[in-house]
Symmetry: C3
Subunit: 416 residues, 3 copies
């Protein structure tokens, strides 16, 4: 599937994803202004190939769409090797793989190939043909799913659909995202409303922010860019720009409490669409849970980032990890202890073992004690879990017991 910023490949990709998840597909006309950017013309390719003078096909886009420089314009002609080379792109350091390259904003044409193949090309006259269209009347295709929750506070999942044939650095993102969507849809109760986006990278999120940025500024509680999430590496969490947003705190808590080896990276302004969500004018609470981060594996942005590099088992585990994190966010509250002077007598409410001073008593009441002591309005359950070392789910259960007994109340439902 030849995906790019725009074109039929993206349209087809989203159509296939609708078989997994409910996705509303929209077309944004080429030429639409969004902040400093313009939605580019729609790019579609009919054919693109190079043949030698004997008529042998050297490269053919229909066999591997990475061969064509993204957004190549049409060209037809015969060139000697020297002139052809000006339009050929390789990775000399990784001579066996085809690089993935694009030229979105300057008109040119070119082909990508393995460096070994380049070295094997003989002095000859080559026939080059690219039949592509850059249609200013076309459109950019984006996908969106909304799952309504109990409140209009939102959680964002954003993934991208513009890298043709990349597996970890693309395919894994839309797949994992649509699996998460399905799991969230099954839930009987959702505190938050979920906004799930399938966008061409950069221009897609910039367009989206130009339309919905103000809404997200007001409503977004946490968000994640879902990418590089299908390989077999340990988890990597890239913080939001704030570094202590709800997305960051929930992700880091779960990774700390459930994973042995993982990496937390401070925000940096290169990467994927978090660059836009975390631009200083928005500074949204959007991080990114990945496995092996873009740029950290040599297969990145080459033909070697293929289906062998990822697995369904890894993607399944990634879905579960995302759901654990979302579960923390859904159940995180700042409680107020309504009986703050000394401890409430838990025993008479059936919350305390009736034989005092048993050695295991401490363990049993530990969770309630931590919640009661720290529920002064300054700590939410994530704080209490971090400070006590008790797992979030254990604390959430204890909090439920105290809520049922009227000892706790929720401070407020607004974004912590």
């Amino acid at each position: 599937m030849n995906r790019s910023l725009t074109g039929n490949g993206n349209r087809e990709t989203l159509k296939i994803l609708t078989e997994i998840a409910d996705i509303k597909i929209s077309e944004i006309p080429s030429g639409t202004q969004c902040y400093d950017w313009t939605v580019p013309p729609e790019w579609n390719v009919s054919e693109a190939w190079i043949k030698d003078s004997s008529g042998n096909t050297i490269l053919d886009f229909s066999l591997n769409n990475l061969h064509l420089l993204g957004y190549s314009e049409s060209y037809s002609g015969n060139l000697n090797l020297e002139d052809l080379k000006k339009h050929l792109y390789t990775l000399p350091d990784q001579p066996e793989v085809i690089p993935y390259l694009t030229s979105y904003y300057k008109k040119r044409w070119g082909f990508c190939l393995s460096h070994n193949q380049l070295l094997s090309l003989k002095d000859d006259t080559y026939e080059v043909r690219i039949d592509s269209e850059l249609n200013p009347e076309g459109s950019m295709t984006i996908g969106e799913s909304i799952l309504k929750g109990d409140t209009d506070e939102e959680i964002l999942l954003s993934t991208y659909i513009c890298h043709p044939s990349m597996a970890n650095n693309e395919l894994s993102g839309p797949l994992v995202t649509s699996f998460i969507y399905n799991k969230l849809k099954e839930k009987k109760y959702r505190r938050y409303t979920y906004r799930i986006l399938y966008l061409p990278e950069t221009i897609g999120s910039i367009y989206y922010l130009s339309e919905y940025g103000e809404h997200l500024r007001n409503k977004l509680a946490a968000g994640f860019v879902v990418t590089c999430i299908g390989d077999h590496g340990n988890f990597t969490y890239k913080q939001s720009r704030r570094g202590n947003s709800l997305a960051d705190r929930a992700s880091e808590l779960i990774l700390k409490q459930t994973e042995k080896n993982y990496t937390v990276e401070k925000f940096f302004p290169t990467g994927s669409d978090e660059r836009q969500y975390c631009s200083p004018g928005f500074d949204l609470p959007v991080g990114s849970l990945m496995r092996t981060r873009y740029g950290m594996y040599k297969e990145y942005h080459t033909s070697a980032d293929n289906k062998e590099f990822i697995s369904f088992k890894s993607m399944e585990d990634s879905v579960l990890k995302y759901l654990e994190i979302l579960n923390v966010i859904e159940n995180n509250f700042t409680y107020i202890n309504k009986m703050p002077n000394c401890e409430p007598q838990l025993g008479k409410r059936g919350l305390y073992p009736t034989i005092g001073s048993q050695k295991d008593t401490a363990e049993f009441v530990n969770s309630m004690m931590w919640i009661l002591n720290l529920s002064d309005g300054a700590n939410d359950l994530i704080d209490i879990s971090n400070r006590s070392g008790i797992s979030f789910s254990t604390l959430a259960n204890a909090a439920a017991g105290l809520m049922n007994n009227g000892i706790l109340e929720i401070k407020s439902l607004s974004r912590e």
Copy 2:
């Protein structure tokens, strides 16, 4: 002595302590409401034993009061081994010791014994007799000493008297506390007023806070729960909930400057009466200097926490360590340098060696320089000691010299 929350054992204990220290004893009637709690009926035991069918005494409360489950109700009857076992409590992991257990708030009866003894019991019919009284017209006994100081700002020492026969986790507390009292009483000048409490754990401090909590909120500068302070372990300081209260800062400074091995623990909401003093409604500046902390030694809450586990030498050292800490609190001031522009000329005041540039000069004037430089109203002597690494007492002497020369003044006498 059969101590518990209430009863004649406590009364006797306090009476004996009055031989060491002046203690005002008060009786709080059973049934008194204090926040969510009620002072329990007074518990006194006449006799409690188990005999086998041959009339041999198996267990006798009069030989070891741990044998009776605390707050057991009366019972008289004959039971086979199977039924008896439902009322027997042991510690299988430590088969040689008798656990210490209570059932304050649910009426039941039971005996505690070593697991080895339980295993040795034969199939037989056992005669059980417990003659105890739970008197709703009784009272809870508490002890209190007040040492007036120059100001009405207070320092609290609180210890508990409800664990029958426990040595480190009890006896050491009232003993060390009453020795500290005597040393404080000898002092000619006390800046602070000292409030020293001998209470049954939990219900005692809850009662006390219900009566004096508001006063302590306004007046308490620092406080300590004195417990587990007689064994041979290194010192452990458990911070107040605030983590940077005057009690915490003074204790940590002294431990850092005088002890090689010690532990500082962040506040946690289980433990002793600091649970009540540091409940979120009060959040008093109360920490606890211990040796081996409750729960950290296997003898805790068993018959093995006996007099062999503690020593008078250890308790004496503990008294001295508490006095060192209290000395820091007494002498800690935030000073204002009245000559803040450049250094005052110490030489003409006799505070500087007259031969300049000698290599040891730096050492000699170091203390004064640190005090002068940091006395801008934002640092007290504890801060200056921490930052300079100079011992608190050396700094306090240097500050006295600068005060005498009119270069320093005290910022204010209120709680730092």
Copy 3:
């Protein structure tokens, strides 16, 4: 040259320095009051020596001016060895060196010599002669250079000229300072005005602050005490009292990014003139970049701190290091990203490579991305350099490119 707080030695020293740099020399009359201090009488020495009974010269000030205790009063007489010894000062621990000692504020006389020489002195009658003048009508000599900059915000360099014959702990300071002056003078543009002071230590800076302290409080952006800067040791940076002043942040950034081994020391209130600049009433942003800090080398304040201990190569490197730090201060701005919503499209401004997705693209645009993302008014370029790990000069170039394109503006020119 016999330098001291006052006297012809200082006058001569400054005169020689004027051959390197433009220095305005001022005379401050003895007796001038400055805060708690008074400018001392002017001290000049005609001759000072000890001879034995055979007329052999034992010590002669004209051969080594360290032999005379600084500010010795006149004396003429014959003494036996025992009485003479009361006026002799040595360093028993370093028996081969002559200590440097002074008695500025108490009238006495004395000689300094190596401990070995002291031990070699025989029982004899010694003739002592000191012909010195302490002239209350004299003056203290100070030097000052001002280099006007584009703004009246100032940078201070302060060095001292009162230690006779000390090389690292003195001579290196005025030399390096005057070399820095020359380099700064050559610059076509200076954002800051530079105030460069050559003062007798302590009394000089106290006098200067009594006159210009209020001005410096309002105008000083950063300052440095230049001393101990000529030896071969690694760099040591002593922070200003604030610990995060512009002087501190710029120095630590450059040391981190250019030096493998270096030391950063928190402020302490002993040392050189930073004691006065950082007294609590002023708390000026003045640190000190040294090599081996005073007190940290055994040659300090002895005759062994001589020309062999320092080198021109070291001083040259020190000048360059100071210039690197000053360059950071000159070019440090807090920028505002004028296009804060999403990224600006760098490509259409020629700031982005036109072939997207190349592996080296990330490196190329990294600097601009960091600047754009963090230029929300809360971070200056030093912050961005620290956070990104990108060198300050690379960032400054990238910022210039963004400024030229109108994407950035400077938040304000006032002191960050």
